[in-house]
Symmetry: C2
Subunit: 479 residues, 2 copies
């Protein structure tokens, strides 16, 4: 995994090595500037993957031989890489947390040479998995209490996009995935129906259905649009269910899948046809370029769909194919162990970073458990200032008021999850993360979960951090 | 890799196994219906990856133990999977070919049980890699003869998206990638400059530049927007180049990288400043959310950028995050070895598939070497009908005319690349594929390469294929 990086990281590493800067302790923080999809939040995912990467990071002899062929790398530096391990500390939000723009989510405190290398891969994992988890949470919101199934592997951007994407989709609220490898790797629940090719492999649609039910009476969802949904598929499905019943086959989970045509109309007609034959508990599953917006609109139209298969648009984060999370130097330590806060300025004011090692406090309304405000502070700050913070009103989050003592609870979001290169937390259990994410999403006001133009969650800097930032900016202008 | 599939494939496989259909020989073909990004073509990529997958496909004891835990799989079928190998044939277009909607690109002729399993992973690889290669070819077109560098790993949808995406980007016309692992795996040329964190690691921007040039005189591209591009970055870069010159350091590849602000304005000013100090051959590299449209517009505006770093929008296929390639049953063989053509109808007429095992003929204009028309035929057809085909005029591809004997050349696009599960072609050389793709792109009229609203390339069905299709549709309506 050592080579899963940009070449410039290795060139800079050698530069630090050669200029005596390799062992300086630095603090880099990951954050993102904009929520994806016009959402008011982002779900943090990929933390477990990132820690695995850090714990196992090394260079093989092959890797080093390859670097030698590139030229520009010197023997002493390549020898150093032979025994390279990541030995730093990591503070992170728990995987599955909701988070907001500008908040540090994942802080790496490590030797400069180590912290530099890991930027690229950490960004890849955390950007990708957070993007898909957030998309899934939006589909989950649109589908209300209906099951949502992740079907996207064949359209994913490569194997990892499919496998880690399926995991992220489960975190965001999908009930199961079609992806068997994701099932094996992460314990995700896997599901599957049948494809058109099954139907086309038999002499008739009816025979294809009959055989399938015989094989899988416990889970027989029949795809009904191979020929024509309402004149062929649904009638043949009903006939096959009736035949099974007459033979005493006990159907457990059974029903149909719609995969083309107008899903609102077809599901309504299919429901009527199934109900009139007594199959009132037959599942009507739908798939075909679904996303959160189409699911919501179909439900608003009264579509009789009971289960949603979401593929391409979920697994690729349709509408926002990349989360632009960044990894910025926030501080370094001098030889005496004093922290020197660092800041990156920019012509674009929103791109100026926040200096120093930080903490993120989440302030909840005590009565409702909803998030009132987020506060980014320096890590060593005392928090008395929260008492006088100007934040949103309990019932009207868009109105401002001063926080009343006793009306809120606070929680520190970042905790030490890796120390000296060793994980402090066990490999996460996927179902537990999913349950945590569901609880996290409930801490958002409904106004902030809306799919379109949601109310933003306020993120404030503490007065101390704000002053430090201004001071550093002023100092730079003098430079 | 056996589990890199959708659960329904394994359930259908068991179904074929139990109903005596497993060993029927079937023909599945991969094609796509719509070019991505509003393009008039798609570059076929991922063929090598797909063949590797097929050649190495198997189930480990662990995989089988996992499937057992799912329930629904029976002992005899799981035993069969223990020795599963792909033993079929593959016909494919050469990797790097340009191709058009509806054309079979990759045909699998195999036992039904094998052909069914491989649908998902083949789709993942071929959809993803074709998507990125096509995007890269558009950036290549916009950048004209300037170097284009792929920088997207940190924003890719997972590791494979970054690594195989970098390979696809090279196929489509990128000159190099920042992705070191892609360099090692595929022999792609790798490049790298420096990040803001390098500059921030020194007491001053100038010192950071000076040290970097000392370390890397052969390749010193300095990022100049850490503080302020025109008042700090470029002047410090010039000072550092001058110092190096005065010390007799020979700069080979040197220059600056712009990563924020208005790239047209800043590159013009930077060019003027560099030129006035004699650094007329200094590279001006730019990166910051570039895609084909912005590259084209910046060039049209006369931006003085000499090298383009393209990241997020290339590696994620921005604008079309998934190529909707599909894999459809086109034929099966009866016990006597006769081919039975198969067709999938649909409520959407454009989704009706073409039956039978097919060939794709490309008809070139002899004088210019440009593509006149594509012809999809049944594999066993004689091609006399090409002589009387109605196709585009040589000089005005949007006008129709009858093809004149002797005025064209034809080429069959699909060839047998795997037989009985064994590759017939060696692992592809990336540089060779890239060169082939560049030649392929030259066979398109400029009208069909335009980024917006390009002229579509005509794809025709042979009369024989067309008749067969109508006949099968009519037969189904009687069903």
């Amino acid at each position: 995994m050592g080579l899963l990086t940009d070449l410039y990281q290795l060139r800079m590493m050698q530069g630090y090595y050669k200029t005596g800067k390799a062992d300086d302790i630095t603090v880099f923080e990951r954050f993102y500037r904009i929520n994806p999809y016009g959402s008011a939040y982002t779900i943090v995912a990929g933390v477990d993957h990132a820690l695995d990467y850090l714990e196992n990071l090394s260079f093989t002899a092959d890797d080093i031989a390859y670097l030698k062929t590139l030229g520009g790398f010197q023997e002493d530096f390549l020898r150093y890489l032979q025994s390279f391990r990541f030995t730093g500390d990591v503070y992170a939000m728990p995987e599955g947390s909701v988070a907001f723009p500008g908040e540090p989510l994942f802080i790496v405190k490590a030797r400069r040479i180590e912290a530099q290398l890991v930027e690229t891969a950490l960004s890849t994992f955390l950007n990708h998995e957070s993007l898909i988890a957030t998309k899934a949470s939006r589909v989950r919101w649109a589908a209300k209490d209906d099951p949502v199934l992740e079907f996207g592997l064949r359209r994913a951007q490569g194997m990892d996009a499919g496998v880690f994407g399926a995991r992220a989709a489960i975190i965001g609220g999908c009930d199961a995935t079609s992806n068997v490898l994701a099932g094996k790797m992460f314990g995700a629940k896997v599901v599957g129906t049948m494809a058109h090719s099954w139907v086309m492999s038999f002499a008739s649609e009816f025979e294809a259905f009959e055989r399938f039910i015989e094989l899988y009476p416990e889970n027989a969802i029949l795809v009904v649009d191979t020929f024509d949904t309402l004149t062929s598929g649904v009638p043949n499905a009903i006939k096959a269910f009736q035949l099974a019943k007459s033979r005493g086959i006990k159907l457990l989970r059974y029903g149909i899948r719609l995969d083309s045509g107008d899903l609102a109309y077809l599901s309504g007609e299919a429901r009527r046809m199934l109900d009139s034959e007594g199959f009132t508990n037959a599942i009507i599953s739908a798939s075909n370029d679904l996303d959160e917006h189409l699911v919501q609109e179909l439900k608003t139209q009264g579509a009789k769909i009971t289960e949603w298969g979401v593929g391409t648009k979920l697994i690729t984060g349709d509408g926002c194919a990349a989360l632009g999370g960044v990894y910025k130097l926030a501080a370094e330590y001098d030889k005496a162990g004093n922290e020197i806060p660092k800041l990156k300025i920019s012509e674009n004011p929103e791109k100026v970073t926040n200096p120093g090692t930080k903490a993120v406090y989440r302030i909840y309304d005590k009565a409702t458990g909803k998030i009132k405000v987020e506060l980014i502070t320096l890590r060593q700050e005392s928090l008395s200032e929260i008492e006088t913070l100007t934040v949103a009103d309990e019932t009207h989050p868009w109105k401002k008021m001063t926080l009343r003592a006793g009306s809120y609870e606070k929680r520190e979001m970042l905790s030490l999850v890796m120390q000296g290169g060793r994980r402090l937390i066990p490999v996460a259990n996927l179902a537990a993360i999913q349950a945590y994410t569901a609880r996290e999403l409930k801490t958002l006001w409904d106004e902030s979960r809306r799919l379109v133009n949601p109310h933003p969650v306020k993120v404030d800097l503490s007065n101390v951090l704000c002053s430090l930032k201004k001071e550093l900016i002023n100092g730079m202008h003098g430079k």
